[in-house]
């Protein structure tokens, strides 16, 4: 019998023996082989002491330690920033309320997740985007003060915005028209400023729009949408894994995407106009314009279905708002408002009770885009097939 088999057999028999008689048992079984005896004895004792050893799966252990590490920054300092409390967590990082010790001012910092911080391409993009956002100064935009790397943590320092995200307001349903227009005007004027500096947001969604405690609206997270790890896998799968992740982990990031983002075409400031249209529709009706029962269904609706009129869900909404939203939600960017300024002035007119010109002044009416729509349809069909496959695999 091989030595190892011998050890294993004695170990198994030793486990059956009453602990007080183990030594006697092993003396008899091992004879003069004290080394064998010691080894088996140590193994049996280990088994008795081992409690929950290896009972918690490795994945759980590491996930919990990583989560603890993130929360663990609380009460420490990163450079001149004393971390007071965690105020938010998302796929793009953890947000903390901090105190700037030099200036004595409260600030917020957003710390890039470690899995992104270990990728040099990602870091470079993160710094570049943050620097672009630092050039923006407008009451409708949460100010970005700095981008830092301290002790292996990459983070941006932002204005601390106290208030409620629009996502929270929406959890109670549609918003009153006056409030909706206040938010829309504030949001559009911030974006108009950003667009004039050549910065697009690309990730406008209710969670990124804050209604401040003292009044006014501020848009958060400029430019961060471009930081995700797209360079490592195909854009398609990246997106689908994000929405296919465990329920609740990442909330509806595709719902506000424009057709050109889904089709991975040229993206410019007009994708922000589409996203505002989606947000306006949601604020007016309490529901999303293009949401389907599954990811492929939602993508299909965004790319080539028209939403129900707002009036169907909220009869009190004005025709003028309907016209504005419809123009924002055009599939072809050419058919939307061509600038945030134009959208902003129409929104202001509605707020003032004026009539919105429904005609050609603000945006070109649809023509000449049939061919690009056809290409679009072909691309969407192949994309949907792929996504449907993934969806089926993941949830069957």
């Amino acid at each position: 019998m091989k030595r190892l088999d011998q050890v294993q057999e004695l170990f198994e028999r030793g486990l059956e023996v009453d602990p007080s008689e183990l030594e006697t048992f092993l003396d008899r079984a091992c004879g003069s082989d004290t080394e064998l005896k010691m080894e088996v004895m140590a193994l049996v004792n280990s088994d008795r002491d081992s409690g929950g050893f290896l009972e918690t799966p490795a994945l759980d252990i590491e996930a919990r330690k990583l989560a603890e590490e993130r929360a663990g920054l609380q009460g420490t300092c990163l450079g001149d920033y004393e971390i007071l409390e965690m105020i938010g967590e998302g796929g793009m990082g953890t947000v903390y309320r901090v105190l700037d010790l030099r200036l004595g001012e409260p600030r917020a910092i957003k710390v890039l997740p470690h899995e992104l911080a270990e990728d040099p391409t990602c870091i470079r993009r993160f710094a570049r985007e943050a620097k672009a956002a630092m050039g923006l100064s407008h009451p409708g935009i949460a100010k970005v003060f700095d981008v830092c790397e301290i002790e292996g943590y990459h983070f941006i320092v932002m204005e601390l915005v106290e208030g409620n995200p629009v996502s929270e307001l929406l959890s109670e349903g549609a918003l009153p028209v006056e409030q909706l227009l206040e938010i829309a005007v504030g949001l559009a004027s911030g974006l108009a400023e950003a667009h004039s500096k050549g910065v697009t947001h690309r990730d406008i969604k209710p969670a990124n729009v804050m209604v401040c405690r003292g009044g006014g609206v501020k848009l958060l997270d400029f430019g961060l949408s471009k930081v995700s790890r797209k360079q490592r896998s195909s854009g398609l799968f990246d997106m689908s894994t994000e929405s296919l992740t465990l329920p609740g982990a990442v909330v509806g990031t595709i719902d506000y995407m424009s057709p050109e983002q889904i089709l991975n075409r040229g993206i410019d400031h007009r994708c922000d106009i589409f996203a505002i249209g989606t947000l306006l529709y949601q604020m007016a009706t309490g529901r999303l314009p293009f949401t389907g029962g599954s990811v492929p269904d939602t993508l299909d609706r965004i790319c080539h279905r028209h939403p129900y009129p707002i009036a169907r869900f909220s009869p009190e909404a004005s025709d003028r708002l309907e016209v504005i939203v419809r123009r924002c939600l055009q599939k072809n960017p050419e058919d939307r408002y061509q600038s945030m300024e134009l959208l902003l002035s129409d929104l202001k007119r509605v707020r003032a009770g004026d009539v919105v010109p429904t005609g050609e002044a603000s945006g070109r009416q649809s023509n000449g885009s049939a061919r690009s729509i056809l290409y679009g349809v072909a691309a969407v069909v192949s994309l949907l097939l792929l996504l449907a496959l993934l969806w089926k695999l993941a949830f069957d």
Partner: protein
């Protein structure tokens, strides 16, 4: 949620080995699905942060599996064994860089000793375990594989038995012995 069908996986593996690159691309989502299934199995009453981290770890494993398209996988068992190995690699790498941050940063108030001394299983030092598991593998490779499949891969006893082509009873015996041996090496009396 179902396990990818054995026949489907085997068919794709064969097609891929015959040079059909498309088969690999169909195969990878199956592995990803498998990893997610395992994660669901482990997802209990943990908080949001925990769920996010689990997702990040699985995504990492998935990305690495995509890079593995040079290996000639023969069948489903081997395919699952490789999932477990990749998961082990990912978890050990994450543990290593987390530890480096802790040392370098000096931000964490928990001392290193606390982590090493975590014998309750929830606080286990995955780096130290990896080393002793390598030693076990040196004299009894099968037992080390059992640990890899069960502890890192999250596979059940019967799945582990299937992957290694041994009986569930043998898996249980190997597991019991390996567990005692690893514990003895990690926490000597």
């Amino acid at each position: 949620m179902t396990v990818p069908s054995s026949r489907e996986v085997t068919r794709l593996l064969k097609a891929w080995n015959l040079g059909e690159d498309d088969a690999f691309h169909q195969l990878v989502p199956l592995v990803y699905q498998e990893l997610r299934r395992l994660a669901h199995r482990h997802m209990r009453k943990e908080g949001q942060g925990h769920i996010l981290q689990t997702t990040a770890l699985i995504n990492e494993a998935y990305i690495r599996l995509q890079d593995l398209n040079q290996i000639n996988w023969q069948n489903r068992s081997q395919f699952f064994a490789i999932s477990a190995q990749v998961m082990r690699r990912v978890l050990v790498d994450f543990a290593r860089s987390r530890k480096a941050r802790k040392r370098g940063g000096g931000l964490d108030r928990i001392t290193l000793n606390e982590e090493v001394l975590g014998t309750d299983g929830k606080n286990l030092d995955l780096l130290a375990l990896d080393e002793v598991l390598e030693r076990l593998s040196g004299f009894d490779a099968r037992k080390a594989r059992v640990v890899e499949l069960r502890f890192y891969g999250g596979f059940s006893v019967s799945e582990t038995a299937e992957a290694l082509g041994i009986s569930p009873e043998t898996v249980m015996r190997d597991w019991k012995f390996a567990r005692a041996w690893l514990f003895k090496e990690m926490f000597p009396q």
